[in-house]
Homo-oligomer: 344 residues x 2
């Protein structure tokens, strides 16, 4: 199998987005990613309780979804540890019994749930374990590659690296450039239809997988590589560092959420200080690209009012001498302008 | 399965150490580890050509090894990428046909070699894939744990972190302390009979696996955790950082080889500067243990004469204010004294 010929199996849309009974809004990232970036692909959402997080589309039953043409039940949730709660099994089995494929971004494989592979065979449906679908991997080399690479990094996980990467890709393309989105997480792979869930590869191959994902290319091509985790997250920093080395980025975009009280899932752990976080990322990135630069900030400002958001973005921009924006609130244009200006 | 009840399947000795046809001495680390740390377990070595690296014990055929009571053919090689060369298959099959178990530390599973699982079943022998033998894993938390932890880190891979860790454990034990060796690589696991090959776990679980491997313990207990790779190696730094965070070491021992010309397998990549390497490791380690200290240096000086070695060690010790030794040439005592002195 050559790098170029590899693609994950097609996940057939339309989708029914399954949210289980999660009450933590951030965990719904897989469903939300579809609603934001591929809204035409979802017929509705399926929630187990009234308190379950909503991604703002219509609630539909499995029966109604099938009537609307839904072909795949997408597990719309990415939880820490990647285990499928045992009490979701009945819904998964129901969907299979109604002839739907299932797509999951969990570490735990659909095929490892008791009875599920047998039921899938019986009904002739496909089980997509998005995180486990990747090409044969090699260890990284760190050898310089042609092309221009932008990597989104962050102070923490789950604060907008995928969103920022997709927005940047779209913005660069709209500016007339040849820009590709390189997905490194299960949501990104679902959106892009290709990529590698980096956190699910064998540890020795993290950077090698990213070298494969964003190979040498035309110097006019931009690869926008989706970052993962944070160098300061005690669970995931290994993934973040391997990704950083494998990406050998020319530009880093630092992602952050204003007002986040502590590192995700770790109430005792304060967020890293911004200047230290930038310096740690640049220092590590220099191992494979000594010319790496900070290109700007992509900040989630949803917790503050607009005036505060503008003031904070301006302060960051002044302090570090690069553009800062909230791509949801104010658009991605400042970062696109900064990147295309820097490249000239 | 609880943490405490987990143990890899026993690999039955005596061993025949198989070196294939490798000509790179460093790749023979698995065989050499047995010869140094468990010499009583090896009946001899098996080399495919005269130019193959020797680990200094008698060459014996499979037939002779069986006559001497050998029970397991140990693949004595750890190569980059972890693939078993296809032309080694015949020797593996011969050993199986003579009733020997096989133990391998490669990423590629013995069970993935064509015909090998069937042959093993036919002859009633066991295939040990050391790298793939680990407990169910969780993501890391970074929560502080009781006990005292020492981690060996390095400027590069394959320069003595396992040797230094085993020597430290033995030295601390001889000084009357309760010291455990925590194996994180396939050689260490083979020597210790337990542990986790960290480079073979799924990337999301690197630090969680190390938290499992060295759990909270008595404050009088020392855990000597075997390091892997280097924060400056473009292929393996993700593993090194996750291991560093999961270990939450109180003390780092920096390992290095005097005169190494470039990073392993990467002729274009210079070795990192020592002060920068120390600072990067301390800075990263502070994420999970703000009190971490450099305890000293374990230096492989085999490429220089004794006078030069002594001079270089003294210079390092003076420059950084901690002990420096070559545990092979001059013994581990200076590091043991430094650690036990620091703890008082």
């Amino acid at each position: 199998m050559t790098a170029m010929s590899y693609r994950p199996a097609d996940i057939v849309s339309p989708y029914l987005l399954f949210l289980g009974d999660i009450e933590d809004s951030v965990s719904a990232k897989m469903a939300r990613a579809v609603v934001i970036w591929r809204p035409e692909k979802a017929v509705g959402q399926l929630r187990m309780t009234e308190r379950t997080v909503s991604v703002g589309i219509e609630d539909v039953s499995i029966e109604d979804a099938v009537a609307r043409g839904a072909r795949t039940l997408v597990i719309g949730v990415a939880n820490s540890g990647g285990k499928l709660p045992a009490h979701w099994r009945d819904v998964i089995c129901q969907a299979i019994s109604h002839g739907m494929d299932i797509a999951s971004g969990m570490h735990q494989r659909l095929t490892a749930i008791e009875g599920v592979p047998e039921l899938a065979r019986e009904h002739g449906v496909t089980l997509h374990d998005i995180r486990h679908n990747h090409p044969p991997l090699e260890v990284g080399t760190g050898e310089p590659r042609s092309g221009t690479r932008v990597l989104t990094v962050g102070t923490d996980c789950s604060l907008g690296k995928m969103f920022s990467s997709l927005a940047l890709q779209r913005g660069l393309e709209q500016a007339g450039l040849n820009a590709h989105f390189r997905a490194t997480g299960q949501c990104g792979v679902l959106i892009a239809g290709e990529g590698v869930a980096i956190d699910a590869v064998i540890a020795d191959f993290i950077s090698g997988a990213v070298e494969w994902l964003s190979p040498a290319c035309d110097d006019q091509q931009w690869d926008i590589i989706e970052g993962q985790g944070s160098l300061f997250h005690p669970a995931y920093a290994g993934v973040s560092l391997g990704l950083l080395h494998g990406a050998q980025p020319d530009y880093l975009v630092m992602c952050h959420e204003l007002g986040r009280p502590h590192m995700r899932h770790l109430p005792n752990r304060p967020m890293p200080e911004m200047a230290a976080c930038i310096e740690a990322n640049l220092a590590a990135a220099r191992v494979t690209n000594p010319a790496v630069q900070l290109a700007g900030f992509s900040i989630n400002t949803s917790q503050v009012d607009e005036a505060t958001a503008r003031r904070e973005l301006e302060a960051l921009s002044q302090r570090f001498g690069v553009p800062a924006t909230d791509p949801v609130r104010f658009g991605i244009a400042p970062l696109v302008a900064g990147l295309t200006g820097a490249k000239q």
